[in-house]
Each structure stands twice: as structure tokens, then as C-alpha cells.
Point group: C2
Chain length 218, copies 2
Amino acid sequence: MEIKVLKDILSANDHIAESNHTLLRSKGVCTVNVMSSPGSGKTSLILETIRHLRQRVRIAVIEGDISSTIDAQKVSLENVPVLQINTGGECHLDASMVNRALGSLPLEEIDLLFIENVGNLVCPGEFKLGEDLKVVILSVPEGDDKVYKYPLLFSLADAVVINKIDLIPYSKFDVEGFTKAFRGINQSAETFEVSCATKEGIDRWASWLISKTSHPAP
Amino acid sequence: MEIKVLKDILSANDHIAESNHTLLRSKGVCTVNVMSSPGSGKTSLILETIRHLRQRVRIAVIEGDISSTIDAQKVSLENVPVLQINTGGECHLDASMVNRALGSLPLEEIDLLFIENVGNLVCPGEFKLGEDLKVVILSVPEGDDKVYKYPLLFSLADAVVINKIDLIPYSKFDVEGFTKAFRGINQSAETFEVSCATKEGIDRWASWLISKTSHPAP
């Protein structure tokens, strides 16, 4: 019974996700589902990307959190459209939550939509939202062994961003070891090393992202 | 239907958790459910606690991970009984997984049992395992705003350990701000500031823990 119900939920979710995706593509929106553990820097990366790209693409953000509007408040200071979804306990966003949010966004005026998922390196992997790209952030202090412990999200990622590389001198993090483990389950994703604190690596990340929108870099 | 099934699952889980708890108490085992985001230092704290207390209490560990036996391997080097549970995708441990593990542990020879949950600041809060104490670890690089975003686990905690305090000089983490937010939802839990890297604060944490076992500090 439990398994049947779960299958039904996932299948219904995929259906709504497909409909979200069709809508977003028809409006020329490139949609990025940003996932990571709590505190890896999802909001920080989105903020730095907005600052870097605001002259070239029109960005909007959907913020997913169990509770609070802290992240949406930070994003709103950048003067881009932002919507907060509070899941009220749910450990991930799902396609119907995003579907409701899309109705309140000016899709015709958006080139790049970030959906910041709930901080969770497990459950968001099961629920498609209608995104074009899945981006997983891993922060240096979390350690280089996370691929082994949380393989699903890393296997699904279109890009992995290693954030907080400014903390490498103070943490045991072997970039080469991480990359080797990651390539064992995902050969096609892009990888980026960035620091939202020092801005190192943001340029390359932002260039890749813009190449995925309808406004490719000149 | 979905809600009904979820209620049934949680109620069945609580029943098994209660049975685990009765068994563990009857053997004089103090059981600690250790929860946090991925990479906050659950295994590191358990390892440091074993090193600190091994002369005074008999410790065993149940390691919960979606996949891999990395953590169990680290713990086994300390020559304490350790069991790895691989959840195979599940985002949390549940009471029946722990129940099966208990059958393989020498309970008569254990004073303190750590159960390291899957790295997840959300879902483990819903599932009792039969523990005496819930300990939540928050690492400094995750940021001081996590209470607002992930309130359930912090509200249930018997103790919160702020780990990686050696990284405070390189991170924006306001201990006072965190504590104020935390006290807003939890007035009774103990709080500890530790660094498993420098060992700072481990002594006070270990003393508190030993006071909870049947072998109180002299």
C-alpha cells in the first residue's frame, strides 16, 4: 500500500512537472533547480549570480523553505521578482507547489528562473519540478565523501558547484578525490569551484549558465 | 489517503520505538540519536567522544547512511562495536531498522549507544528510534539562521552541539544570534560549542553525556 501510494504521488508529480516545463519553455524561461544540504550556499550563489548577470539576463527566483522568508527577503533586495514557498514541514519542493508559484510570476519578462529547493541532499532528488537544469551545491566544510553517501542527487546533477573554496586551507577537502568519486556516477555534469565570499569562480559559473539561456554569451 | 497512510506509518514506528526503548533501558543502555545536515560532523563528534570516554563507559555505534560504509569503517578503527544500516534511499532511520540492528549488538556490554542518523536536518525529526536523547549538530559554516528554516529538529533536541567553532574566524556565524533564535523554540536543551578538529569543548560535552548514563561522573 505504502509503495503504491508513493508511486502514484511520484507519477502525479512528474505529470505536473512536465506541464510546468512546457509552460516555462514556451515563455523562453531557462529554469534551474538548485539543491544542496542546509547552509551550503544556495541563496549566496543565487545572489552572486544575479549581481553578475543582471545586465544581461532577466532573473527571477522561487525560494523554497519549510518555514521563514529569510532567503526571499535577501533576494528581494536585489530587485528581482521573488516568491517564497513555505512547505510547512515538507522536506522538498514538488511540482504542484511550483505550479502555483508560476501563476504569480511575470514569465514573459524572465530569462532565467532559479528555484531554490529546501536544504536537503536526499529528498529533492525524487521530485521533478519542471526544470531544465539540476544544480547541486556542495560546500567544502561538508567534506569530500558526500558522493558516496548521497549518490542520487549527484547522479542526477547537470552541474555540481563546489562552494566555499576559500575554506579549503582550513578543511580537509580533496577536490581531486571528490571529482574522482563524482565521475564514477556522473560523467556528463559540469563542475565548478567557487567562493561566494571571495567571488572566485563566479565568472565561469555565470558564463556557463548564460550559455544555457536563450541569451547566449556573445 | 496519503495522510492516512503517513499517520499509520508514524504510529507503527512509534510503537516499535517504544519497544526499542524498553529493551535498551532494561539493559542499562543510554541511547543517543545524533542528527544533522550532511557534513556537520556527526561521525567526527562520535569518534572524539569515544576517544574521550573509552576508559569510563562502554560505547557502541549504529551508523545510518543511504549507502556506503565509510563511517562504520572509521568507527571500527576505534575498536568499539559498530553496525552499519544502509537505508537504500530512505532519508532517515526508522525504529524497525534500529530494532533489527539491536539484535546484533552485545547490549549487556554497552553503556552508551550512539545512533548516527542519515544526514538530513528535516526528516529524521519525524521518526523516533527508541532513544533517550536527541542531539542535533549544527556546524558553523552552515550559518546561524538554521533554526528559522528547520525548526522541528531544533525544537525536539535535548542538546545542540555547535561544531567547527575553529571556523568562526572565517565564517559569518553569530553564536549569540543563533542562541537567541534557538531559545525561542527550545528553552530546555543543553548547548555546546565544540571543535572536533582542535578538541575544544569536547570535555564539557563528554561530561554532560556521561552524566546521562548509568555511570555518572565522580
